[in-house]
Amino acid sequence: MKLFQKTKREVNKHQKALNELIRVVGEERVLSAIEDRICYSYDATKQKVIPDIVIRPGDTNDVSNTLKIANKYEVPIYARGAGSGLTGGAVPLMGGIVFDLKNMNRIIEIRPDDFVATVEPGVVTKDLQDEVAKFNLFYPPDPSSAAFSTLGGNVAECAGGITGLKYGVTRDYILTLEIVLPDGSVINTGGKPGYDLTRLFIGSEGTLGVFTKITVKLIPRPEKIQTLAAYFSDKDDAIDAADLIIDNNILPRTLEFLDLMTINAVRGYTGTDIGKDVKALLLIDIDGTDESIGHEMPIIENTCEESNAFKTKVAETAKERDAIWATRRSISPALYNIAPHKINEDICVPRSKIKEMLKRVDRIKEGHTIYIANFGHIGDGNIHVNIMYGDDPSQKELAEIIVNKVMREVVELGGSISGEHGIGNMKSQFMELEIPPHEYEIMKKFKSYFDPKGIMNPGKMFIR
Amino acid sequence: MEQRVRNNMIDRDVFERLCGAIGRENVSDSIEERGCYSFDATNVKLIPDLVITPHSTEQVSDILSIANKHNIPICTRGAGAVLSGGVVSIEGGIALDLKNMNRIVELNARDLTITVEPGVVTKDLQDEVVKSRLFYPSESGSDSLSTIGERVAVCTGGMTGMKYGVTRDYVLALEIVIPDGSVINAGRKTLKSVAGYDLTRFFVGSEGTLGVFTKITLKLLPMPEKIGTIMSCFKDIESALNATDSILVKSHLNPRALEFADKTCIDAVRETDNGKIPEEAEALLLIDVDGNEKNVTNDINRIDALCRENSALKTLITHTDEERNRLWDIRKSIYPSLTKVASVKFDEDLSVPRSKVRDVLKKVYELSNTYSLEMSAFGKIGEGHVHLNVTGSSVGDADVSAYDLVSQILNDVESNGGTSISGLASHETEIMKDLKKMFDPKGIMSPGKIFV
């Protein structure tokens, strides 16, 4: 089901384009059977629109040639990595071409002496992390989808992850990009004087061009990681503990928070022993040398205890560490224990506003039969607000109203409507809450400069 | 008016408007003052017609609005201490000095953010946040002179770049007045945000060609418990480079700063070193490590051992802040000392892959012999940054030779996969020019900057 009806002329134009594409790129790089195209109609948002064709480029030339033709005939084109995005980024809303970059997945080179690596966009993030680990190097951005999402997708969304507080996000690790622009021309950004085109393209969500080579910065791999779980009977205590840890000049590798609703869901799910009196949980990883961990862990334990944690558990073995982290990983599926449907928001507020934000969320929820679980990267203020709702159509409506209210509160508190998932088409309606009109217009000017025909990922980011 | 306005770029009418908008006391046409704005650290002498010192965003907005209407070029200046022909790029027009916009607007320690006006001197910001046990990385030789606005405009690296990255990594939000006078707000004061295009980071490093920053929100980090410093002197450059490899690549130690200086640089600062640097030293490394007490001690000792393994003549570990500052002062005095020794002809910032520094330096000294010019190199070789100076004491032929020499080195650098400040490819340049036009159709902001 297409969102936009095509006119007859458009259909003919598309046909010409498709024929030329097949000729230029080669049959073997094209999927035209509907049984194939269906598999490229969605991402993790469950939206489905079947594209007219799927093209699987092998190299920069293929990408460039495809874009030239798409541009010539004004056929919409949607780049795709693993299709794991949470905001609709890869969904071909207007049909057209899905550009599957999954098989452009070579790790081109790793230069350990220079602390850099160059990859093609289809490389799975975890594969890169594993490869560079062999050289004792570390690529820190670690979105929860790292085991299957691709670098290209990460760069397009400026993915974050659990290591964001200490190590930063994707944009902090990209040195250079080879980008094919909508007209098919190839540019290389980064490592040069002039404007920071690299950063402009990072997080552009496939609306400005396609990445064909990505060079990343690597850092030395921390020797060790140690994990601690702290249990609280009051969520404010947990938030205070997180603050105090940072006040103690420690930036943990990860600092994750789970609220009561989240804990209840997880408790039933994994059968992990989280006692009934636990109303909030902090999961903390610190990394470094034996000495620095030996120095920091006791401080963290004390800090949690000072903030009324009634129990802290430091993982003694790899198994215990896995068990603690299994709790965090099981959140997403466990939430379905509460209700069958979910809206997952990843708002980010200034750290000092976290408590207030959670209060406001509670207030919004009050009186309604709907469930909201809050968890996430409390260290940098990036909270995943998950609204769980039932099958009844009125529930869906209610959920959407709540999201709307939450977004307004977030912006009012100086926060951002998305800390790491991006806008796609799921949040484009909220963009103008955060982005004032003038800036919004400037962004659209950038878009029309690079993509005058509007063929790159149309329907995403901007409503109009 | 005390003096006639020399140039007819700014006529009487416009002058009146400007004074009307922001107050006569903030507009200067005195030749002496204008003369002060005529150069910055690269010794280029161009004189503006007016010097304007606004106090607020509205004033900046008014100024730009008027200038835009009347096609008057504007160059913005912080303290002019940043290199690479930073401020005045053409003759005439307005020099906009933001020194009066120097408030720390708000420090949100809990949020790990600080918002400042552009004229805040870097050191003042660092001193302020230290009180909350926070720090803003991006230490550099010019901290007591350079302003935040400047740093963001140029996207400086700073000596802590090795571990802490560059200015851009810390800019969260900007209030910018763009050439037509309108005020835009890019970014959010949160540690993470991905809504829409990254206008914020796009503006960082735009060197005043797209607008004027009137508020800057920076990310801060918790202050490390301790900083340890060690200076190692080597009998030759090879040993110093080997030591660097051992420290960074083989041992994966993560120093906060790693600076190198060659013999010429060492000789230039000899009178200030209090005998710390041995006569035979032909290269030195100055290294900072930070973290908690124990870690720092361990790392410094490791580095000490690695330097000795690589034939260090002498290593000096500091134990107090004063000792540390004294060593860093020596390093910071290299550049000024070099200009004292001879009128510096050329300097060039090279950026090469870390592993190629050795080859580039080799080429530098080879060419130095060929052209019998004095070459000196210092800088953050840990990151592949080499600051090259060609010094001589006479003009004329030497000029040409120096240019040739540097060109050859630049070519070498290019073929080694690096870049220097001067290079830029054509398609990307066209795009940047177009984007510049988007913000500044009349081309009034720092004309001649970035695009030659």
């Binding site: 049984e35 194939d36 693993a82 289809g122 085991a147 299957f148 599926p333 | -």
Partner: protein
């Protein structure tokens, strides 16, 4: 098609996590290879956006049915139900190809015909030249492709063990479900099971009426045939009044223990509870009863998909091997070897790629023998090594135990 697949399909949250473990996706990078893609095809069928076509059939057949996806699915989608429904749909709408249909419906249910067909084959094989390391270069027969296939046994396991070896006071009486590969090719595995269990004072019956477990039929969606076979097997197994039923084939175990619950209904639960993989059984009932003298061999273990991913059994075979040999683990022991039935026929090229990865893992382990608990895997991996002219031996873990027991059993040495 049954209706519960629709429920399962709607549980899929489209997260994409199945991409991390799907062995076929690992090779192809095609979304149609992975569970999420197949689920979207099932949705499209449900919503009448597509109908059954050859292309759809290709996609359905490209599933390895290893069930690794189930172990990581955050929404706990019962993918088995979905893929079975898709296969049945293919069979119902497009029919089962003629030759397989004949075999499934007319030969598998008739032991005599099955025996006959294969006995003729075993006679013919003598005339085929080029034996290599116990394997023979197979003719590009029917649907087998260019592979090194093991020779057919002279005498089937069923006929060899027509009479039960009676024990005086057995601890238990268990039935051995051989499965086709062990019955016709790897008879020595059946011998090893009987030998080992007898030494542990367990009497072993090989019920003569047993038929093929039905996996080949269900893997092509021929539910009529698989039901037919299940019903006969039920009768046979129930009639013998056994304490437990063991199998040395991971796929057969999965089939009769789990799949039969769907085919035969909840009344099978009681029997299902008594069905074990041979290693599982030994560890559970005989754990401390035996004494081995470990063989000097360096042995590594490959986790069959149907044992590891479907049933979560990974420790028991390893524990046995640790007692029986110089055991070394290989990296990625749980990665699919690419073997097993229909998939290997239709997607031979993918099979080879998966096999290559497995062979490399084994080589990296430094072992001179690789043991596993599935004759399908044995056949596949042996094929891989024969092709490389390697001396690495492929065997069943029960055979290693058998040798180690014989080693350690001083009383039996005559």
């Amino acid at each position: 098609m049954t209706t519960d697949w629709k429920e399962e399909v709607s549980k899929c949250s489209k997260c994409g996590k199945c991409q991390t473990v799907c062995p076929v996706f690992l090779e192809t990078g095609d979304e149609s290879s992975v569970s999420r893609g197949k689920i979207s095809l099932a949705e499209a069928l449900r919503d009448k956006q597509i109908v059954y076509t050859e292309k759809l059939r290709d996609h359905v057949y490209s599933c390895k049915k290893c069930m690794r996806c189930r172990t990581v699915c955050p929404s706990d989608v019962d993918y088995e139900v979905i893929i079975s429904a898709l296969l049945r749909g293919v069979a119902d709408e497009m029919g089962v190809p003629l030759l397989p249909k004949i075999i499934f419906r007319y030969i598998l249910p008739r032991r005599i015909l099955f025996d006959l067909m294969l006995r003729i084959g075993s006679k013919i094989q003598r005339f085929i030249p080029g034996r290599k390391r116990g394997q023979m270069r197979h003719l590009p027969l029917l649907f087998m492709g260019k592979r090194w296939m093991p020779t057919l046994a002279e005498k089937t396991a069923l006929s060899k063990f027509r009479t039960t070896q009676k024990l005086k006071n057995p601890k238990m009486r268990v039935g051995l479900f051989t499965g086709c590969l062990i019955n016709y090719i790897y008879v020595d595995i059946a011998e090893a099971v009987v030998d080992v269990l007898n030494r542990m004072n367990i009497e072993v019956v090989i019920p003569q009426g047993q038929l093929c477990c039905g996996t080949p039929s269900s893997s092509m969606g021929d539910h009529k045939s698989s039901k037919q076979l299940a019903e006969v097997n039920r009768e046979v197994l129930e009639s013998h009044n056994l304490d437990a039923i063991v199998s040395a084939c991971a796929t057969c175990t999965k089939s009769i223990k789990l799949d039969y619950l769907r085919t035969l209904g909840p009344s099978w639960q009681k029997m299902s509870d008594k069905i074990y993989d041979i290693s599982e059984f030994i560890e559970k009932y005989c754990g401390d009863d035996y004494k081995t003298k470990p063989l000097g061999k360096k042995v590594t273990y490959h986790d069959p998909c149907h044992l590891m991913w479907v049933r979560g059994i990974t420790d028991e075979p390893r524990d046995i091997l640790k007692k029986s040999s110089d055991f070394v683990d290989m990296d990625m022991a749980g990665s699919c070897c690419g073997g097993g039935g229909i998939f290997t026929i239709i997607h031979y090229d993918l099979t080879l790629k998966m096999l290559e990865r497995k062979v490399k893992s084994i080589e990296r382990s430094g072992a001179d023998t690789v043991a596993t608990n599935c004759p399908g895997c044995i056949m596949q991996i042996a094929d891989g090594f024969a092709g490389k002219d390697s001396s690495v031996k492929t065997t069943h873990s029960i055979q290693i135990l058998q040798k180690a027991l014989a080693n350690g059993d001083v009383s039996k040495e005559k």
